[in-house]
């Protein structure tokens, strides 16, 4: 595979996939430990109505209003879940399921009602993403990486996902200690004077940012899979949190690269000429990794605690 083919066609989707995977897997570590793993699922469903409303209000398919709409919807969903849980004293799982299905249904209805047939806005796109089409047309080979005029033509999604990744990593770096403490021993963290509620909310907001930034590039399947599968697999590999985060980053990158390659070239090896969905393949590979970790991981058993 030469640079002339690889750089324009595969480099940017691969990078976007890797960045999105890592950006989701990082907060996913804490969500899995806090038993909030399904927040990622909920957020990626409610992003749809946010994007549709943003489109209906502005009338254009532009990145900024759509990101704002998606983030607004995510916040609305979090508030709604909490309100339903408190006001109706309803079990958190049911409150979450109720909220995200309703908002998703509203999004689908709005989509069908509005005349969006002319634009690239449909449910399948929201679910699968369009990773394969984020190619770098201006590139001619490896030398383009040093060519400013070619670099200007990089897909804008690459920058968005990269910024989200930096933001997520920065958040974890700065708030590492309060995050760890409030995750493992909330009561102790409170006696230390930490605002555990605020930290929890900040974590969800950061997760939402990662989800929204990745969502429009790679679709919701990868987002949900990357929030849960790499951290869950990493949790079965080690008992130390730092090591778990490192494992999860490794697993996320591995899923993204392997999944992308398998989706693009796997069918050719089997004698078909069409590629399959990269987003779906990345999710599948992350599932295989999790299955292997669950079967052979060194720390897969729950020791000393009663089975819940």
């Amino acid at each position: 595979m030469s640079g002339a083919e690889f750089v324009p066609l595969s480099l940017t989707p691969l990078l976007i996939g890797v960045f999105a995977a890592v950006a989701c897997a990082l907060p996913g570590n804490f969500l899995v430990l806090r038993r909030q793993a399904l927040i990622g699922d909920a957020i990626s469903h409610v992003v749809l109505p946010g994007i549709v409303v943003a489109f209906l209000v502005t009338g254009v398919v532009a990145a900024a209003p759509m990101l704002l709409g998606a983030a607004g919807a995510a916040v609305l969903a979090v508030v709604m879940i909490e309100a339903i849980r408190r006001l109706g004293s309803i079990e958190p799982g049911a409150a979450m399921g109720l909220t995200f299905t309703t908002l998703f249904a509203a999004g689908v209805l709005l989509l069908e009602q509005s005349d969006t047939s002319g634009v690239h806005l449909d449910v399948e796109h929201a679910l699968y993403g369009n990773l394969e089409s984020l190619i770098w047309l201006d590139a001619v080979g490896w030398e383009s990486l040093a060519d400013p005029s070619a670099l200007a033509g990089l897909p804008v999604e690459l920058f968005r996902v990269a910024i989200a990744l930096v933001g997520v990593a920065g958040f974890l770096w700065v708030f590492w200690r309060p995050l760890v403490l409030s995750t493992f021993d909330e009561g102790f963290a409170q006696t230390m004077g930490m605002r555990t509620k605020g930290i929890g909310l900040a974590l969800v907001v950061v997760a939402a940012i990662a989800a929204v930034a990745s969502f429009d590039a790679v679709g919701s399947i990868i987002v949900i899979a990357m929030f849960i599968c790499p951290p869950a697999a990493a949790r079965l590999m080690t008992n130390r949190l730092e090591a778990q985060v490192a494992w999860s980053v490794g697993f996320a990158m591995m899923s993204a690269v392997l999944g992308y390659v398998l989706a693009g070239y796997g069918p050719i090896w089997f004698g078909f000429d069409n590629a399959v969905s990269a987003a779906g393949m990345i999710a599948t590979v992350s599932g295989v990794i999790l299955a292997l970790a669950a079967l052979f991981g060194p720390c897969r058993k729950r020791l000393g605690a009663p089975a819940v």
Binding site: V32, R35, A37, L38, G40, D41, I84, L87, G88, S89, I90, E91, G93, A94, A95, M96, G97, L98, T101, T102, F104, A105, V108, L109, E112, Q113, E124, L127, Y128, I221, I222, I224, A225, F227, I228, C229, A232, R235, L236, A263, P267, F272, N274, A275, V276, S277, A279, G280, A283, T284, S286, G287, L290, A294, G297, C299, R300, K301, L303, A305
Partner: protein, 401 residues
């Protein structure tokens, strides 16, 4: 137009859809009740997403065997097999590894769904054009429902409902007290699997009506709605079934009146409307009832404290308390007690004294447990007992040095 749709007069096809959807709604509502009581509502999310690879594989198998590939029962069979596999994965991950249930659910739903999407793209390349309609499983496609499909859905919904009725006793036992159920000889694991299996059946049958993303709503929202209205399992299942059936009936009818109203989302939103109404208006647990109860409680506390303040001659600065006393004719605007107020205040002070005595005496232990600072002592003790207490407290005494 809407009335015609609701009364099944909008033609053969719309009637099929409406009746089929309503039956499914009832089955989903009743089944979802046990899922909710067992705190497993979100397992349905994993089940529904895990149907996609099964549908796609069934389609591929059928095309490979040379048929058209759009045979609903066979597609649903594929969905059932793969969602059962997904369910086993969730069970295995939670039981045999240290992953919590939510992580297991999320992992299964994303991985199965991702694999299903991979298979869908394979189908698109295998047979261009013939896969049309398969994507309807994502969001439901009731408009294209044929008579045979409607029969499959109606019979499936009915069978599920009958099974739930047959299994309702062990299922409610396990939902409320798994340990007691196990001690009285119920196989908890098998009942759990039965609940999951029924949820799976509803999911698979409902795929065609609302699609795999939204079927979760039909299993979750009606039970939550029903929970506001009752504390009894059997009634909750009935109300939940009624809510589910009503939402599906109204939703399907509504969507039949206009082409741009997709059935699945409309059913979900109708269901949510029922929930919202219950959240606000249900007696006992509804927001309005809770607010009214809170307000009443607040009044009683302020009234009581105000009376005690009057009795000890302290001035009342609190506006709300003063207003309450004024409106009841117990105090003047400047906070001075009326004749009526003086009597009531003396009585309140006397009662406080009696309570003090009751709480100090071991003999009145059970009565003392009822003390909350508001309860009238007459509602707890008989007049003989009160007289006895008054005798022991004695009348007003002078200050002794």
């Amino acid at each position: 137009m809407l009335w015609d749709a609701l009364t099944l007069q909008l033609g053969y096809n719309a009637t099929l859809v409406t009746v089929g959807a309503a039956l499914l709604g009832v089955a989903a509502g009743v089944t979802g009740t046990f899922l909710y009581l067992r705190k497993r509502a979100l397992v349905s999310d994993a089940i529904s997403h895990a149907t996609l690879p099964g549908v796609a594989l069934a389609f591929i198998v059928m095309v490979a065997l040379g048929s058209d590939g759009r045979n609903l029962p066979f597609l649903l069979l594929g969905a059932a097999v793969s969602s059962w596999l997904g369910l086993l994965c969730v069970n295995w991950l939670t039981g045999r590894t240290r992953l919590a249930e939510d992580a297991a659910i999320g992992a299964v739903l994303s991985v199965f769904f991702g694999f299903g999407v991979v298979l869908l793209t394979v189908i698109q390349t295998l047979s261009a054009g013939r896969a049309a309609g398969l994507e309807g499983f994502l969001l439901g496609s009731t408009a294209g429902m044929l008579f045979n499909d409607a029969v499959v859905i109606a019979v499936g919904g009915l069978l599920t409902l009958l099974l739930v009725v047959a299994l309702r006793r062990p299922m409610s036992l396990v939902a409320f007290d798994p340990e007691f159920a196990a001690a009285s000889g119920v196989n908890v694991q098998r009942v759990d699997l039965a609940i999951m299996g029924l949820a799976m059946a509803v999911t698979v049958v409902g795929l065609k009506v609302v699609g795999l993303v939204l079927i979760v709503a039909m299993l979750i929202i009606p039970p939550v709605t029903a929970r506001f209205w009752t504390d009894r399992t059997d009634r909750m299942a009935l109300i939940s079934g009624a809510c589910g059936g009503l939402a599906a009936w109204a939703g399907a009818a509504l969507s039949a009146t206009a082409p741009a109203l997709p059935t699945g989302p409309i059913i979900v939103l109708t269901s949510f409307a029922l929930f919202a109404v219950s959240l606000l208006l249900a007696p006992g647990r509804g927001l309005l009832a809770v607010a009214l109860r809170h307000r009443r409680f607040q009044r009683r506390v302020h009234m009581r404290q105000g009376l005690l303040a009057l009795a000890s001659g302290q001035p009342i600065y609190e506006r709300f308390t003063l207003n309450l006393l004024k409106r009841a004719g117990l105090a003047h605007a400047d906070g001075v007690a009326t004749e009526d107020g003086k009597a009531r205040a003396a009585k309140a002070l006397r009662d406080e004294k009696r309570w003090e005595f009751v709480r100090a005496d071991q003999a009145f232990e059970s009565a003392a447990a009822m003390y909350d600072g508001l309860r009238e002592i007459e509602t707890v003790l008989t007049s003989d007992q009160i007289a006895e207490i008054d005798r022991r407290i004695g009348g007003p005494r002078g200050v002794t040095v």
